[in-house]
């Protein structure tokens, strides 16, 4: 029962979703806006993981599930796999995507070495806005993993666009 949607529609929808939550619904409460978009992502990830684990045998351990997220799940969502997976074997995983599809249209600010304080605060605002866009994919990962029986916390890091890394901390 799959139907195709144009990718620019998805891009526009996501951009508008973040913008609406940040600027209209929770205008001065960025933490609440972040939590809401993450919760939306959680439900989407929950439902997507049902669909994409349909034909597969069960996962034997956490690493198998994370590898599923990196390969099949990411491929279904973004037409590519995660580029790099690191773990400390104690419940923390870092997934790195060198060209995150939903951030490809985002402008990359050149950080001025000695900018004025105005410019620096504008830079900080831009960074906040950029990180707002990452709560939705973090929610998707968290929803997918918790549906597979792995409660976790997911955060994202965009120190160098367009590469983006997601840090998954499994709750023991």
């Amino acid at each position: 029962m799959g139907r195709d949607v144009s990718e620019s529609c998805i891009d526009s929808l996501l951009t508008e979703m973040v913008s609406t939550y940040c600027n209209r619904f929770y205008a001065n409460k960025p933490e609440l806006a972040a939590r809401r978009t993450e919760a939306i992502g959680y439900q989407v990830g929950h439902q997507l993981s049902e669909r994409y684990t349909m034909e597969r045998p069960c996962f034997s351990d956490h690493l198998e599930a994370i590898k599923f997220i990196c390969k099949d799940f990411w491929f279904e969502l973004f037409k590519k796999q995660i580029d790099n997976l690191k773990t400390n074997h104690r419940g923390t995983f870092v997934l790195q995507d060198n060209r995150f599809r939903w951030l490809t249209r985002m402008s990359i600010d050149q950080s001025p070495e000695n900018g004025t304080s105005e410019e620096l605060s504008i830079m900080a605002d831009n960074k906040t806005m950029q990180s707002m866009h990452l709560y939705f994919p973090c929610g998707i990962i968290r929803g997918a993993l918790s549906n597979l029986g792995i409660p976790c916390a997911v955060s994202a890091d965009i120190s160098n666009l367009p590469a983006c890394s997601f840090v998954i901390r499994i709750k023991a």
């Binding site: 993981s49 049902e50 684990t53 349909m54 597969r56 045998p57 069960c58 034997s60």
Partner: protein, 143 residues
């Protein structure tokens, strides 16, 4: 003939139970489904490492009672499908086929944005699809 299908969530909460007989033994069927959950848990926790069935989704015949046979299927997200049938000669392939179609219908029902995960499935489309699959199960195995 299939008398009952059930979907049970990962905390053993019922998500969908539907019986297909005219008789009033719905309670007995619910009881059978409930008992079969124990068998499912047992199979999951003590996997038979001898065969190649370590990570299978289809659990096979759970246990035969005097009139019924109960089949189980476990998804990756720990959702269990239980099938109760009165057929005496049921082919394995038919049951697997049934569960595959049932799983597809379940995934579509859960992808409904108005469905709350953990609550019962109230979609009529899902109920219609399930009864279609149940009807065609009877037909294909009678060949």
């Amino acid at each position: 003939m299939i008398v009952c299908v059930a979907v049970v969530g990962h905390q053993n909460n019922p998500l969908y139970i539907q019986s297909f007989t005219d008789a009033d033994d719905a309670l007995k069927l619910h009881h059978i489904v409930h008992c079969s959950l124990d068998v499912v848990d047992e199979r999951v926790n003590n996997p038979k490492k001898s065969g190649p069935t370590l990570n299978e989704t289809f659990l096979g015949l759970l246990y035969p009672t005097e009139n019924y046979k109960v089949y189980g299927y476990l998804t990756n997200t720990k959702v269990k499908f239980i099938l109760v049938t009165t057929d005496l000669d049921v082919r394995d392939a038919d049951v697997r086929n049934f569960f595959r179609r049932f799983h597809a219908a379940y995934v579509d029902a859960v992808s409904n944005p108005f469905h709350v995960p953990g609550k019962k499935i109230t979609s009529r489309t899902f109920a219609d699809r399930v009864s279609t699959i149940v009807q065609s199960f009877g037909l294909s195995s009678s060949v």
